[in-house]
């Protein structure tokens, strides 16, 4: 009965628009941080750009949405947390972060191979009155704690409650659609239960064009990517032997440098 919720992101469809980033921030009550930069920003969903390294007419680019990969095996952040503020939920596979237990040591941020965790450098603040627009299902965090994508578990809760009210034990997956999945205009992000062999996302994850980032380090992420372009698939594990570094720069675009 336990599920493994995961995603398959079709990189051939992602246009890098950023709708998923906005929808995620809105759903999770992430404060707008006009004082932040690309280094200190709070973006549980972040779209990065990578290229094939060539210039001129031969250049190709791809946009890669990155969020918590919800690693299943030896989950790095779970292993290092001194507070046990994060755990892999047995029933859903979601890596659940409890910001209220976090003491802000940021060890998990160092441990995460995907740079998918973000620190609240400032207290969340909204312009006066804007608190009325906060999503009721999601609690605010305070400064000094780490947060990350939580697979829109508030929507999972709503789906569970709806199922319970109707007397059902299993949720209807149509009721549990994370914000980024709902927002994507090309349908690039697909969501489903990877434990269910009949689930559409589960089938796509098993297709030959599907891959995971840094699969060789063995964290078993539940977010898969998919592309028919070989150079895109090669980005996940640098062919030349060194780990591709994604440089975040203060201004300009992030580029994947091949070693």
């Amino acid at each position: 009965m336990s599920a493994r919720y995961g995603m398959v992101i079709d990189l051939d469809r992602c246009t890098g628009c950023g709708s998923c980033m906005m929808a995620c921030a809105s759903e999770n009550n992430v404060p707008p941080l006009p004082q932040a930069t690309a280094r200190t920003g709070l973006t549980p969903m972040l779209v990065r750009k990578a290229s094939n390294g060539m210039e001129g007419g031969a250049r190709r680019e791809v946009f890669i949405p990155i969020m918590c990969m919800h690693c299943e095996h030896e989950t790095p952040c779970v292993k290092v947390c001194p507070q046990q503020a994060v755990e892999v939920d047995k029933a859903t596979g979601i890596v659940m972060q409890m910001p209220q237990r976090c003491l802000g040591c940021r060890y998990c941020m160092t441990a995460c191979p995907y740079h998918a965790r973000y620190f609240n450098w400032w207290d969340p603040a909204w312009p006066k009155g804007m608190e009325k627009s906060l999503n009721p299902g999601v609690a605010s965090r305070m400064r000094g704690v780490v947060e990350k994508c939580n697979m829109c578990h508030a929507r999972l809760h709503t789906a569970k409650e709806k199922a319970a009210a109707a007397g059902k034990r299993e949720i209807d997956l149509a009721d549990y659609v994370p914000a980024c999945v709902e927002a994507c205009p090309t349908g690039a992000i697909r969501f489903g239960n990877l434990a269910d062999p009949n689930d559409a996302a589960s089938k796509e994850a098993r297709s030959p064009e599907a891959f995971r980032l840094l699969a060789r380090i063995g964290t078993e992420p539940k977010v898969y990517y998919k592309s028919k372009e070989a150079w895109v698939r090669a980005l996940a594990e640098s062919k030349s032997g060194s780990v591709p570094e994604v440089k975040r720069v203060e201004a300009g675009h992030a580029e994947v440098q091949h070693g």
Binding site: D10, C17, G18, M21, A38, L134, G137, A139, P185, G187
Partner: protein, 555 residues
């Protein structure tokens, strides 16, 4: 009995030992930890029942269907409407933060006159005086609405002009006005039936038309396919987002799109790859190759590729007569899969940036993009819900903000059929705001108000017995029981879609090859017309390196 220091120490030790077996230290620990996690300055969401309401985003003329989650009467989240025929469930990235706009720190709350605070009474008096003293021009950024009809009626009654800021996508269709007599706002692109689309710099997958209009079509028919049903050829100076995902990217030198269009047209005509016969572009193939940076062979290949799968249509970025002429050559003008006439409207709008005659005052509606500056010394009455900064308007008048007023949604730019929808207001506007239409209605009570115009438009739609109402299901209008029922459905989020344009219905005559385009290309990703960006846009522009802040010229 003398109390010594030792007594005090022993007593304290006893007290400490005693305290340990009381709740004091344990409860205090527990309570202070709770206290330290509940700082009063950290805002918490409202508790209350959540309901879903449906409306239409009115922040730009595309009119995307929008589902809004409301809690305690305030919008707390937005999502698209998958059954919506225009947006097909998508919203633009900025739309996802739109529900927070009404609290933007730059929200206009009071009337401002030349930098100082003023009042509605003064503004009304000044405007009424201006109307008596000379002609008044009214500028509308979102033509076709019921409010637009009020603005237009007022302008006509007061000898002024009614001018319109057309969306960039519609402006690109203006060359056809001269060749066919049909106004640009009556034309649309029948992309649903096209097999090849050549975009000359138009960001079809990133800001052109409604967010879901082309992206969904492309996702269904081209994304990730080796031999797509819809071939997207993107002509772009650098690898834009659309070029990155296109079936073919044709890199050209900056501002050479026109030259490429002329070169392609020349090849099509010289090699008789098309049925059309007519004037040849003056540019030779060698000249086109020189200007674009492509070889003559590359241009020939491109021409052949374009007509390999027809219908083929060209889409330009900005007003480019040569690209429009290419469409005529391709046979895309007035045929399915190309440019079609969707409405019977005969009169062209006067563009707002055309030369302005001398007027006494200009009234600018809140829908006009913030960086539009009228070329006039007249007294400017500028309506806006937010202060975008650096305005040179004499009067800044606070207008209703996001989903704060009832609006209707006319046919979106670029569509091949007419559409109509209603965007109900979901929150009450603050007391101090008034829309331009309401303002004019106050000055001239003979003008029909917006809600009555909408009501009569619904009546007209019903009596015409044409088209389909698309809500949860699609119902032909002929099967709807009454005008009232039609209006109710529209209020609940249904969209009326007119019949698909019949082939023919208008004809394009190209007597001579047009001169090249003048003026810079449009920056479509920056045509968000609200004066301010939603607060969460910092995620895209500052907290990540995904996008560069759009360059905005302030009025």
């Amino acid at each position: 009995m003398k109390v010594s220091r030792r007594d005090l120490l022993v007593w304290s030790a006893g007290a400490a030992a005693g305290l340990i077996v009381t709740p004091v230290p344990w409860k205090l620990l527990d309570d202070t930890s709770i206290w330290s996690q509940n700082w009063p300055w950290i805002p918490q969401p409202t508790r209350g029942p959540v309901e879903m309401k449906q409306s239409v985003c009115t922040l730009c003329p595309q009119g995307c269907g929008m589902r809004v989650r409301m809690a305690a009467g305030w919008p707390v989240g937005v999502a698209g409407v998958s059954s919506h025929p225009v947006s097909r469930g998508a919203l633009c990235p900025l739309g996802f933060g739109a529900h927070q706009l009404n609290w933007h720190p730059q929200r206009l709350k009071t009337v401002r006159h030349r930098g100082g605070a003023s009042a509605w009474g003064d503004a009304q008096a000044a405007f009424a005086k201006a109307c008596k003293e000379g002609p008044v021009v009214v500028i509308d950024g979102y033509p076709g609405r019921a409010a637009s009809s009020m603005l237009e009626s007022f302008a006509q009654k007061h000898d002024g002009g009614y001018r319109v800021v057309l969306s960039a996508e519609t402006r690109a269709l203006t060359p056809y006005e001269k060749w066919s007599g049909v106004p640009a706002s009556a034309l649309g692109y029948d992309l649903e039936n096209a097999k090849t689309i050549v975009s000359f710099g138009a960001p079809l997958l990133d800001g052109w038309g409604a967010p879901g209009r082309f992206t969904r079509l492309w996702a269904e028919r081209a994304a990730g396919m080796n031999d797509p049903q819809l071939r997207l050829i993107q002509v772009d100076e650098s690898l834009s987002r659309t070029a990155s995902r296109a079936w073919q990217w044709v890199p050209v030198r900056a501002s050479a799109e026109s030259a490429l269009a002329a070169g392609v047209a020349r090849v099509l005509l010289e090699e008789r790859l098309v049925a059309w016969r007519g004037p040849m572009p003056s540019l030779t193939l060698a000249e086109a190759a020189e200007r674009t940076g492509l070889s003559a062979d590359a241009i020939r290949d491109l021409a052949r590729t374009i007509v390999a799968r027809t219908p083929a249509v060209a889409i330009g970025n900005g007003i480019d007569p040569e690209i429009a002429a290419l469409n005529v050559v391709l046979g895309a003008a007035a045929t399915p899969g190309g440019i079609v006439r969707r409405s019977k409207r005969g009169a062209a709008y006067v563009p707002a940036d055309a030369a302005m005659p001398s007027v006494r005052a200009a009234l600018i509606d809140a829908s006009v993009p913030w960086d539009f500056a009228p070329q006039t010394d007249a007294e400017v009455f500028r309506f806006a819900a937010w202060d975008g900064g650096s305005s040179r308007a004499d009067w800044l008048l606070p207008a209703p903000g996001f989903l704060e007023e009832l609006m209707d949604v006319p046919t979106a730019p670029t569509l091949a059929a007419e559409t109509y929808a209603i965007a109900p207001s979901l929150t009450k506007p603050p007391a101090e705001v008034q829309s331009a239409a309401q303002f004019l209605g106050g000055i001239d009570p003979s003008l029909t108000p917006v809600d009555k115009i909408i009501h009569s438009r619904c009546g007209n739609l019903f009596h015409a017995r044409a088209g389909t109402l698309i809500g949860r299901e699609a119902t032909p209008v002929a099967k709807i029981a009454s005008a009232q029922a039609l209006e109710e459905q529209l209020q609940k989020g249904a969209v009326w879609v007119g019949e698909a344009a019949r082939p023919g219905g208008w004809r394009c005559e190209l007597k001579e090859w047009p001169a090249a385009a003048s003026g810079p290309p449009e920056n479509l990703t920056a045509t968000w017309s609200a004066p301010v960006l939603p607060p969460l846009a910092t995620k895209l522009y500052q907290e990540s390196s995904l996008r560069e802040m759009p360059a905005r010229r302030n009025a």
